[in-house]
Symmetry: C2
Subunit: 438 residues, 2 copies
């Protein structure tokens, strides 16, 4: 006998939690589709040559091999499980560049694999829900508006809790550090990125030989978004006489104002010049989304822009905007905040009690009718089970309605409908079922 | 520069084919849900102890390992990619046996992995769409009716081409072989299972030392379904005076008649006593579904019953009915038969032409309105692109409608709607859009 167990940090749901995850997936997919992102489904496995590049962190990789590889097959691993959906897409775009119509917009909701040391909200197999816009010529700033508003629409419809989308252009931060004579940008940005995860970044900045004045400037800079609203922040940067800076600020302003004027409620969006993703392959504006009032400062959705992600695969230049909702992480954070209510163990709305084999045809007709009007319905499988036990089954599974047909009802062409929530029972005709169930 | 390429025998779709696959998946999922199969999503990876058992074929296995496994981690592979959705479910049922409510019905549409020698319609990563009913006590025969009718409903709504569900009880074949004094059942059944893949099975039967009379009996037995209809076949078996046989025939008859009376059109279903799946873990009735008039005798959907699949994991007994649609194979066979029409490269129904940055707000309002009534709409991303090029883009992607707003229209609160299929253009108010697009 083998003790059955799943693999640590690979999650799986019980049926009630799976209903929630499916529902989240459907809402995200519907919103992505409404904004014309076409769906893709690349393999979970890629060649090592595809994934190996400046982006991959070897430590996190799962490699794959045929178990009974023959002697003449190479011993080295040549296949890896994908660690994100972006690198496979870069390969896909380059491979099919002559078949695709640009601007190319894709969505993909899929599992990715990363070996990580055990820690909260870091699964080793988890869902990402990505959207991307790729063009073979200059990608207009409106693409960023489209990407962001799509993410906003999806998060809004998920209706889980308040969230705030923090927007920045990473170059603003570099520019500011430069203006206060900081040399080691990268290291300082790395420290700033840690600000929500450590008590104070001051000792870390001191270690980088920054003086007190510089440190105070940095501290007030990264807090500016808390004390100033987005327009004030944009105005603050507009006061500097630096043509390059003003161009970046104008971009940010275009983005912010277009979002605001047209799509997005102000309270969900915030210019935050301290957002500073460490990842080195994005080049422009970025966002991170946090759940409001949560002390868990894990981003649930991010976005950035690359000038040319396919450079490893194609001679052609493909500018690129990407955004993603971290579906598995979002759900796990909401669970932790007790914000997800498991409302049902089943997708069934109606249970038809099954008492006599000779009434089977009659019962199945009811089932057939309800399915024809798109109501999920279940006929209890076994006619030998006592009615009390069948009702208990409905109760255990939180099925809201039960239909019972006795001999008398068959004669009268009616049925008994029991509402298990309100604990009410009534006799009605089959044609009146639809409105009684809604 | 790396030449981008996918892995052989791992398939991926271009956007137009992906629209078809998504649509197939949605229809199958909807039908499974209507028949109250709750959705599960177990990991793609399982422990070796879970998968290793009498069922696994070592040769087909992909094993997984952390690439940079540390010295103190074991060198042996401990994780495998799943090769079906059934063994992981057996593990799941045993692991959560006290949390699940029985009868437990699940659906899962997911990828599985099998290394196989390159051959047509055998991918190494492919989708299966499974349904299962599991109980912790005797599983009534009605479960088989429910499973089969659900598969039938899904295939019917896919509306691809004609199909025939072939039903059998494997024991009939054994019984018949016994009645003609054949000893080596398993080997003979293995040969019979090959009947559609070789020119003649006679030489193979001769190799098993069967005499001419026995061979003739077998040949006429496996052809009986072609010359007799289902009722005649049931009657044929009913003439034998063997209590055990009659019980099996009665089961088959119950199944066939219930399907026929209630759900299934006669032309889609056939009693075929030659169906003889080789797999050794099913114990009762089985089916295989073939596409009619196709010479490609690859099953696209199968079903069987186990008396106790979880025996390796739990002391408790769980009888089990399983069925599956081989989604990837079905689509690939239909493609080969030219039965799938790629009708669109996009899910977009309307393109809004984008000509002047100053009209952006106006255009986006149209987009927003259409999305609010669930119409997939696309605003061309770049206002600098000439209108001819934007129209060509819509044409390339086969987007059926285009909306154009000139200055005049804005003044009149109207828009121009161009139907690219009928090549017609008309001026209308935004509130009249919905009916013009339907």
């Amino acid at each position: 006998m083998i003790k059955p167990k799943a693999i640590s940090w690979f999650y799986e749901n019980l049926p009630d939690a799976q209903i929630i995850e499916d529902n989240y997936k459907d809402i995200i997919k519907k919103n992505y589709s409404l904004s014309w992102f076409t769906s893709l489904d690349t393999p979970h496995i890629e060649r090592i040559e595809t994934l190996i590049s400046k982006w991959a962190d070897d430590n996190e990789i799962y490699a794959i091999k045929r178990l009974k590889a023959e002697w003449d097959e190479k011993n080295d691993f040549e296949l890896w499980l994908r660690f994100d959906l972006t690198v496979p897409l870069a390969r896909y775009v380059a491979q099919y560049e002559w078949e695709l119509v640009f601007p190319f917009k894709r969505q993909q909701i899929g599992k990715v694999y990363r070996w990580e040391r055990p820690q909260k909200w870091r699964y080793r197999e988890f869902y990402q829900a990505d959207i991307d816009i790729i063009w073979n010529s200059k990608l207009p700033l409106f693409a960023d508006v489209e990407i962001l508003s799509t993410i906003y629409n999806a998060l809004k419809e998920l209706d889980f809790w308040s969230f705030i989308i923090n927007i920045n252009n990473k170059k603003l931060l570099s520019w500011y550090l430069n203006s206060i004579w900081v040399d080691e940008f990268k290291k300082v940005i790395w420290v700033i990125d840690k600000k929500d995860k450590v008590k104070s970044i001051v000792p870390m900045l001191e270690d980088l030989w920054l003086n007190e004045e510089q440190i105070n400037h940095i501290l007030s800079y990264i807090n500016i978004w808390e004390i100033r609203n987005s327009s004030e922040i944009l105005n603050f940067f507009s006061t500097f006489e630096d043509e390059q800076l003003l161009e970046w600020v104008a971009e940010l302003k275009y983005l912010y104002e277009n979002l605001l004027n047209i799509w997005v409620e102000e309270k969900y969006i915030k210019i935050n010049p301290s957002i500073s993703r460490w990842l080195n392959y994005y080049t422009g504006t970025v966002f991170e989304t946090f759940i409001e009032w949560s002390e868990l400062l894990w981003s649930i959705s991010s976005w950035w822009r690359y000038e040319n992600l396919t450079s490893n695969f194609s001679k052609n230049n493909y500018p690129w905007v990407w955004a993603s909702i971290g579906l598995s992480r979002l759900i796990s954070i909401l669970n932790n905040l007790w914000k997800i209510e498991l409302w049902s163990k089943t997708i069934t709305k109606v249970l038809v009690v099954n008492m006599w084999e000779e009434y089977l045809t009659n019962n199945v007709q009811i089932v057939k009718y309800l399915r024809s009007i798109w109501i999920n319905v279940e006929l209890y499988l076994d006619s030998d089970t006592k009615i009390q036990k069948q009702l208990k089954y409905a109760d255990n599974k939180k099925i809201p309605f039960v239909i019972i047909v006795w001999e008398d009802e068959i004669k009268r062409w009616t049925l008994q409908l029991k509402n298990l929530v309100l604990w009410k029972q009534s006799e009605l005709k089959i044609i009146d079922l639809e409105k009684s169930l809604s």
